[in-house]
């Protein structure tokens, strides 16, 4: 059984009038089936309003299914008695770093989560140290978060989640507000957590280059899963992705243009390295 399992998961946003009567409902997630294995790195793509964030919010029970079920590490998210266990299993990191940092000193901020879980004092400090080291921010432990760059703030936010020792981290566009360096820092941190600590990662993003190393890519449109597979499989369908308002990495796009012009390149080239390799092979023929 996977760590995240959804079966015919559906969610409606309700619009109510002043008396609380339902005026209209709009379906944000439509019969989604998911099976994510522990330790996987899964990327979710989709245009604004496709249901990605709504789905993400189900995973730590901020939202509950209107229909269907969602199991996180074997626990039904509708079971209120399991709420805190579920939230410890799946931590969330959001887009805006300034909205999720509350401590005035970096290490206090990171300690906030475990403190709320009732972790003993000594262990809190141990966890703070561990998680700050994991995101490469230990040397900033006594800094004020508001003096840090965007990428550093996001890594603090990630450390705050890591300190709660979740099996799974859901990141909802964590790099949307960052400069290129900040984006690299955050993605590298997330990849390391996945590879070294075997934390399951769900990454929502609009930057296609960030997902080429994922185990699996899921594409959502109008609340449904419309494509899924390895990055290579998904990015082979350039036109289909564009139809879903998405994009492909620039290397894939260059390869696609070259293919159209008649160069016999294979489908699904993901990175500069691969394209260079294939082109070198071609020219030697």
């Amino acid at each position: 059984m996977g760590i995240i399992e959804a079966s015919k998961l559906a969610f409606d946003y309700l619009k109510t009038d002043e008396e609380g009567k339902v005026e209209s409902r709009s379906r944000a997630i439509d019969e989604v089936d998911l099976d994510i294995k522990e330790g996987d790195f899964v990327a979710i793509l989709g245009h604004n309003g496709s249901g990605k964030s709504t789905l993400a919010k189900h995973i730590n029970a901020i939202l509950l299914p209107t229909e269907g079920t969602l199991y996180v590490d074997g626990k039904d998210t509708r079971d209120e008695s399991k709420l805190w266990e579920i939230r410890q299993t799946a931590g969330m990191v959001f887009q805006n770093p300034d909205n999720q940092i509350i401590g005035t000193i970096v290490d206090e901020d990171v300690g906030f989560g475990p403190e709320n879980m009732g972790v003993p004092q000594q262990e809190i400090w141990q966890r703070v140290e561990d998680s700050l080291k994991k995101v490469g921010m230990w040397e900033y432990r006594s800094h004020s978060p508001n003096k840090l760059s965007g990428g550093q703030k996001q890594r603090i936010a990630i450390a705050g989640v890591v300190a709660m020792r979740p099996k799974c981290i859901v990141l909802d566009e964590p790099t949307a507000m960052l400069d290129p360096n900040g984006r690299r820092e955050v993605i590298r941190t997330v990849q390391e957590l996945n590879r070294q600590e075997h934390v399951t990662v769900l990454l929502i993003t609009h930057y296609m280059e960030e997902v080429i190393e994922a185990d699996k890519v899921i594409v959502m449109d109008q609340g449904k899963i419309v494509m899924q597979g390895t990055p290579r499989e998904v990015f082979s369908h350039v036109d289909e992705l564009k139809g879903y308002r998405l994009d492909v990495p620039q290397a894939t796009l260059v390869a696609y243009e070259l293919q159209k012009a008649g160069l016999p390149l294979p489908d699904g080239i993901l990175s500069n390295e691969e394209l260079v390799q294939e082109l070198t092979r071609l020219i030697r023929q």
Partner: protein
């Protein structure tokens, strides 16, 4: 309609323990009708600099000249300047507040003291310019999607008919199609109305695709000010200051290292594909001849 910045310095919280120099000796000339990109790491001073362009911030020393006149000179009409230099902040949709989209877009021109017909005509035009469909005009701004809200907010600035449009990360958080739509519309506006556009962005790919000039800020100073081709040739220096070149520029450099005959200053996907194709055909031909 031009702006000159002369020896501009800006210090936050001057004279306190939190004093911090945000901008150091900035000299820039923003002539008519350019499409300018501005890049720099977080905290490099981009947002501080653009707030000087319409007098929201006053230089600690140095001057900002609008058509040759110091904007902080006695008797200068800052209010009029602000209708000429339109600033679209990050996440402008957070500033939507009216009951419906149309009224919100009318807010700017209304404050210029225009007649009702003129206000509505401008709002309508601005909404069309950002490509927002009519069915949204009477809806609450909060019922729109992220991309639509962003457009409504940009329309609010366009309705003031600015001669300089400054956009601070207008596409952060938008999906690729929404990003292309907004930037294409800005480019169209630039072409049709010949307005100056300053685009602040963290996406080197977007910058490479649209602008004719790039200003690179690093720790409050101008590091480069040149065409995209020239600026992105310095990709190693850009990396040192937290930036990068577009991905295709790296691709071309890797191929060059393998002996491909390609120009070094490629910055867009189309340029890369064409250059690779040309080089490929050429070497193929010479192979056959041999």
């Amino acid at each position: 309609m031009s702006i000159q910045i002369e020896h501009l310095n800006y210090i936050y919280s001057a004279g306190t323990a939190f004093e911090r120099q945000a901008l150091t000796d900035i000299n820039l000339d923003l002539p008519d009708g350019q499409f300018i990109g501005m890049i720099g790491h977080t905290g490099s001073g981009k947002s501080t600099l653009i707030q000087h362009l319409n007098g929201l911030l006053k230089p600690t020393s140095g001057r900002v000249l609008y058509n040759g006149t110091d904007i902080f000179a006695d008797g200068f009409d800052l209010r009029r300047l602000r209708s000429k230099v339109g600033l679209v902040f990050q996440y402008p949709e957070h500033q939507l507040f009216e009951t419906d989209v149309f009224t919100d877009v009318c807010f700017g021109p209304k404050n210029l003291g225009l007649a009702k017909e003129e206000i509505e005509a401008r709002a309508l035009k601005a909404l069309q310019q950002v490509g927002l469909k009519e069915k949204y005009y009477k809806m609450s701004p909060f019922e729109l999607s992220g991309g639509q809200k962003r457009r409504a907010a940009i329309a609010g600035i366009l309705a003031m008919e600015p001669e300089i449009l400054v956009l601070d990360e207008p596409t952060a958080g938008l999906d690729p199609k929404g990003r292309d739509d907004i930037l294409n519309q800005v480019a169209k506006l630039h072409q049709e109305r010949k307005i100056t556009v300053v685009l602040v962005s963290h996406s080197m790919e977007d910058i490479a695709r649209y602008v004719e000039r790039i200003i690179v800020l690093n720790h409050g100073s101008v590091l480069f000010d040149d065409t995209p081709r020239e600026v992105f040739c310095h990709y190693q220096e850009l990396e040192k200051v937290g930036l990068a070149a577009p991905q295709v520029t790296y691709l071309v450099h890797e191929l060059r290292e393998k002996g491909w005959d390609l120009p070094a200053e490629v910055t867009t996907v189309d340029e890369a594909a064409q250059a690779i194709l040309a080089s490929f055909r050429q070497s193929h031909q010479s192979q056959q001849e041999a």
